[in-house]
Symmetry: D3
Subunit: 240 residues, 6 copies
C-alpha cells in the first residue's frame, strides 16, 4: 500500500455524490487523494422519473442508463466507483453487501468518509445508507472480524453531506468546505445528469450560498462551498 491518502463516499443513489459531495471529491482528487465512491443503488426506481416516462421501458435499461451516467460523473470528478446494486426505494442491503463494505474500509483505510444525513423524512434510503456506512466503519475495527493481527485500521472521521431540505433533516452544518477551485469540475459532473436539469441550478445556488456563508464565517473570500456535519469530535493540537 502506497502513502497516498484515500477518501470514501457512501451514497444511496448516483445523484447524491454529485450534488452533495462532488466538490469534496474533485478537491481531494486534486490534492492527490485516491477517492472511492460506493454507490448502493442506481436510483433506478425512485430517482429516474425521466427514464420511466417512456412507456414499456425495462428495469435493466433504466439501470444501465443510470450506471453509465454515474460512471461518467465519477470519472469527471476523478474518483473510482463501485456499485452494490442493492435496489432503491427501498434499499435492500444484504449481509454480503455489509461484509463487502467492511472490507472496503479495511482496504482503503480512508482518511475520512462522506455519507448521508442521519434523518430524511422525504427519503428513507438516505438514513439507511448512513446507518450502513457507519455500522461497517465500526465492524472494520472489530479484531475478531476476519482476524489478522498485523492489520492496522483506525475508524475515520465521518462527515454528513447536505440533504435536499436541510432543516427538515435536522442537518446542522459545522464545516464548510471551500470548493471554489474545483467548481467547474463539479458543474461539469452536474451536466451528466441530463434528466435533472432543474437541479443543476438548485445546487449551483446551494453552492453559492454556502460560499457566502463560508466567507462570512471566516473573513476570507470564498465563492462556492459545500456544507458538512462532522459526527465525531475533532482531535486537535491547536485551536486556531
Amino acid at each position: 500500500m502506497s502513502d497516498q491518502k484515500t477518501a470514501l463516499i457512501v451514497t444511496a443513489h448516483p445523484g447524491d455524490f454529485v450534488w452533495r459531495a462532488g466538490g469534496a471529491i474533485a478537491l481531494h482528487v486534486r490534492k492527490g487523494y485516491r477517492v472511492k465512491i460506493v454507490c448502493l443503488s442506481f436510483g433506478e426506481r425512485g430517482e429516474s422519473q425521466f427514464a420511466w416516462k417512456t412507456a414499456g421501458v425495462a428495469m435493466d435499461e433504466v439501470k444501465a442508463q443510470r450506471k453509465a451516467e454515474a460512471e461518467e460523473a465519477a470519472a469527471i470528478l476523478g474518483a473510482s466507483i463501485e456499485f452494490f446494486d442493492a435496489g432503491d426505494y427501498p434499499l435492500k442491503l444484504t449481509e454480503a453487501m455489509f461484509d463487502r463494505m467492511v472490507d472496503i474500509y479495511r482496504e482503503e483505510k480512508p482518511a475520512f468518509v462522506l455519507t448521508h444525513a442521519l434523518a430524511d423524512p422525504y427519503n428513507m434510503d438516505h438514513p439507511e445508507a448512513t446507518r450502513f456506512a457507519q455500522d461497517a466503519r465500526i465492524i472494520a475495527q472489530a479484531a475478531g472480524h476476519k482476524p489478522d493481527p498485523s492489520r492496522a485500521y483506525s475508524a475515520p472521521p465521518v462527515f454528513l453531506f447536505e440533504p435536499h431540505q436541510p432543516e427538515q433533516c435536522d442537518f446542522k452544518p459545522n464545516v464548510i468546505l471551500n470548493i471554489t477551485d474545483v467548481w467547474e469540475t463539479k458543474r461539469k459532473a452536474f451536466e451528466v445528469l441530463a434528466a435533472q436539469k432543474h437541479l443543476w441550478d438548485y445546487y449551483t445556488r446551494v453552492a453559492l450560498n454556502r460560499g457566502v456563508q463560508g466567507g462570512r464565517n471566516s473573513g476570507r473570500a470564498m465563492t462556492y462551498g459545500e456544507a458538512y456535519q462532522r459526527v465525531f469530535p475533532m482531535i486537535v493540537e491547536e485551536l486556531a
Copy 2:
C-alpha cells in the same frame, strides 16, 4: 375516479383510530371525504386484556371479537376499513403488506394521511406503524415502482395523532382540529370499545382540554378538539 376527496388513516391497533383520530374521521366524512382506515392488527395480543381474562380463550376468537368492534366503530365514524392482520406486540409487517400499502396510496390519492407519533417508549408498534405508513407514502412516488407513466400521484401531507402520553413521545402538537360538531359521533364510537370503558373518560377529557387550548389559541369558541403534529412544511398562498 371521482372528484371526491379522500383521507387515509394508518393505525397499529383498532383503539387508536377511535381515541386519536375519531373526530377527524367523522368530520371529514361529514365534509364529503371518502375516508379509509388501514388497521395493521386487531390488537389481539397487547390491547385485549379483557378478552384474555377468560381462561382458555383462543387467539382466533379474540381476533374476531376485536375485528367486529373495529368494523362497528369504523361504520359509526363513516369510514371504510381494511385489516392487514400483521399481528401485534410486535407488528410483523411483511413485504406483501408493504406492497399493498403502496397500492392503497396510489388508489386513494389521499388529501392527507393520519398516523402515529414518531416515538412511543410505551408501545413499539406505534412508531413501527408510522415508519411503515411514511415509507409506503414515499415508495408510491417512485416512478419505477410498478411503472405507469399515466399515473398522477403526489405525496400527501402527514399528520401524527396524539399518543397516550404526549410529552413522553416527544409529541408537539402544531394543529388543533375543531371536532365539536362531530363529538357525539366520536363518543358513540368510544362506546363500541366496551372493554376499555376507563378510556372513554380519559379521551373525553383529552378532547375537552384540547378544545380549551384551541379556543385559547384562536380566540374562537371551541368545545372539543383533536391535536395533531404536522410533519412536512405547509405550502400556502396567504398567512392568515
Copy 3:
C-alpha cells in the same frame, strides 16, 4: 375601524423586512391587507458598513440615509413604516417603546405578526426584537393594561422569518409562502438597498430554492418562496 385585515411586521433593522418578509408584505398588500412595519432601528451602527467607509461621516447622516432607504423600500412593498430609533448593535429598547408597541397591537389588531427567529448567534438584535414583539403581543391581551372593557383584541399568530443562516439559528420552517406573483416587487425593494448589492443575489437564490422546496412539498408549481416558522398551533376546521 374598517373591515380591512391588517398585518404587522417587527424588525430590528431595515434590511430584515426586505430580505426576509418582502414577499409576504407585497403579497398581503395585493390581497387588500393594510400592512404596518415597525422598524426598531435604522441599522446605523451594525448594518451600514458602506456608509462608514467615508471618513468623518456623522451618525445622523448615516441614520438619515438608512431611514430614507427604508421608507422607499416600504413604499415599494406597499406598507406603512414606523421607526422606533432604538439604536442597534445592541438595540436599546425602552419602556416607552414597549408601551407604544403594545398600543400598536391594539390599534392594528393584526391578523398575523412576522418577526425574527428565536435565536441568532450572529446577531443579538434579532432575538431581542422577537422577544420584544412577542412580549408586547401578550401584554396587549392584559385586561388591566390601560383597561377598556369595550376593547376586543385577540393575540395573533406569529410567524418567524428566515434568518441569514437558518440551521445555526435553529430555524425550522414549517410554512412556505408562495411569493411568485409579487417577486418583481420584492426584487425592486432589494434594489433600494444599493450598498448591499451582494445580498440581492443571495436572497434571490434563497427565494428560488424555497420555491423549489414549496413545489416539491405541495406538488404544485411555485417559483419563488419565503419560509416561515409558525410559533403557535394552528386551529383548523379541516385538515387538507
Copy 4:
C-alpha cells in the same frame, strides 16, 4: 429552628399555585411540612379579566380582591403566603425583592422548591419567575453573600410545575405526584377563584389524566396526579 421540614413555592400569579401545585402543597402540609408560598404579583393586570369588566374599577381594588382570594386559597391549602407585589404583565422584579428571596431560602432551608416551567411562549412572567427563583437559590449558597460562617444551607431540589400547554412549553414531566388523598382540598381552593370557573374543570381533567398516567406507569392505583419536571439529578441509595 425546629426539625419541621419545609417546602417553598414561587409563583408569578395567584392562580398558578392553586392549579399547578395545590395538590403538592396540601399533601405536604398533611405530612407535617411547613409550606411557604412566594407570590410575586397579584395577577392584577393579566389574570383578572373578570374584575376589569367593571368599567372604572381601580388597580388597587383589583389587587386587593386578588390578594384576598390568594390568601383564602393559601389558607385552604394550609400554607403561609408572602406577596412581593412586583406587578405582572410584565413582572418588574427589583434587587430588593431578589435580596428578600435569597433570605427566604436561607430562613426556610426548604426540602424542595416548586416553580414554573423554563419556557412559556404564552406568558413571559412564568419563565421570569423561574429564573428569579433559581438564581436566588444559587445566591443563597454564596458564602460571601451576607456572610455567616455558622450558617448551613444546601440548595434544594427544584421541581417545575405543569404549565397550561405543556408541549408548547417544552415541559417534560418526569415525576407524577399522587394527590388523591388531598384532592378535595385542592378542589376547594379552586372554588375560591370564582372568576375562573371554566378552569376548575380544565384542571380537574388535568389531575384525573395525570392520575391515569401515574397508575399506568407505576402499576398502582391512583386517581388524581400532579406532574412535575425535576431539574437536577436525584441522588439515591437504592434504585427501586
Copy 5:
C-alpha cells in the same frame, strides 16, 4: 415465588455490566435483591482485541475465555448470569432469544431494569440491546402473549447506564446512585477484565467524579457514584 426483590440487567457485552452497572449490582445484592444479568454476547469479535493478538486463535477459544471472565465478574458482584450467545459486532438477535427475554421478565418480575443508553454512534450493539430489552419489557405485558390470566406482571422502571462518551450518546443523567459502600467489590470485578487494564483507571475516575457530582447535588458526602438516566416518569407519594 418468594418476597425477594429482583433486578434485571441487560447488556450487549460482558464489560458493560462491570464498568457501567457493577456498583448497582453489588449494592442491590447487598440489600437483599436477587440480581440477574442477561449478557447478549461474549464480546468475542469487537471487545476482545487482546485475545485476537495471538495469531491463529479460534473463535470458540475467545468466546470461552470471555465467558469465564464474565461468570467470574458476575460471581464477584453476586449476580446470576445468562448468556444469549447472539454474536457481537453486530448482535444477531433472534425471535427465540426475544421470546426467552420476555419469559425472563415474567419470571423475574424485576423491581427495575438496567440497560444501555438509547444512542451510541461508536457502537451499534448498545442501542440494539436497549431496544431489545425495552421491547421485551412491553411484550411481557401483553395479555395475549402466552396467556395466563393468573399472572401478575407490571412493567418495571428502566434506567440507562452511562456509556463511554456520555455527551456523544445524548446521555443525560438524572439519577446518581451512591456506590461508595460497594466500591471495593466493583473494583474487584474490574480486575477480572485483565486485558482491559487501561479501563480500570478510566472507570475509577468516572466513579469518583460522579461521586463528587452526587455530593454537590445532594449536600451529602459521597465518594463513588454511578450515573443513570431514568426513562419513564417516577410516581411518588412525596417530593422530598
Copy 6:
C-alpha cells in the same frame, strides 16, 4: 501591531480559566501566541467559601486574596490578565465594561475566543459571561461603533469550555485539544488554588478521561485533553 497571533479567554471567575482552559492557555503560549484573560469577577462571593470561614473577614480582603491567586495562576500559564471587578453571584456587568470588552476584541484581534458553556443551571454567572463575550464580539464588527475605516477586524471563532457537569449544561464537546505537553504547567496552576484542593483531583481526572477519549477518537496516543464546543461552523480547505 506585530504578527504574533493572539487568543482571548473570557471567564466569570478565576477558577474557571484554570480548571477549564488552563491547558489551552499554556499550550498556545508555548506555540508563541499572546494570550489575554478577561476575568469578570474575583469570585469573591460565590467561589471563596474557604476565605469566608474566617469570621469577620472583609470583602476587600477576600477580593485581594483571590486577585493575587488569579494573577499568580495566569503568570504560571503565561497569560496576561485584566480584571473587570463586576462582582459575582450575580455578575453586574455595566455598559462601560461592555465598551471595554469591545475595545479588547479590536485591540487583540484574537485568533480564537474561549468562554463558558451556553447554559449552566448551577451557576447563572457562567451563561451571563458567555452572552457578554459573544455580544461584544459582534459589536466589535459594527462599522458604526467608534468608526475607523482603516480598522480590520474579523469576528473570531468561539470555543466553549467544559462546565462542571457537562450533561446538565447541554455541553456537547466537538473538539478535544491535546494538552499533554503542557499538563505539568496546568497542574502547577491548580496548586495556586490552595483552598480548592479537592478540585485538583477532580479536574485531573477530567483531563485524563478527555485524553482517553481523544485517543479513542483519533487513533493517536494522548494522555491529557481539554474538551471544547465550537459554536460556529469551521471553514476549511481540506476535510482530513
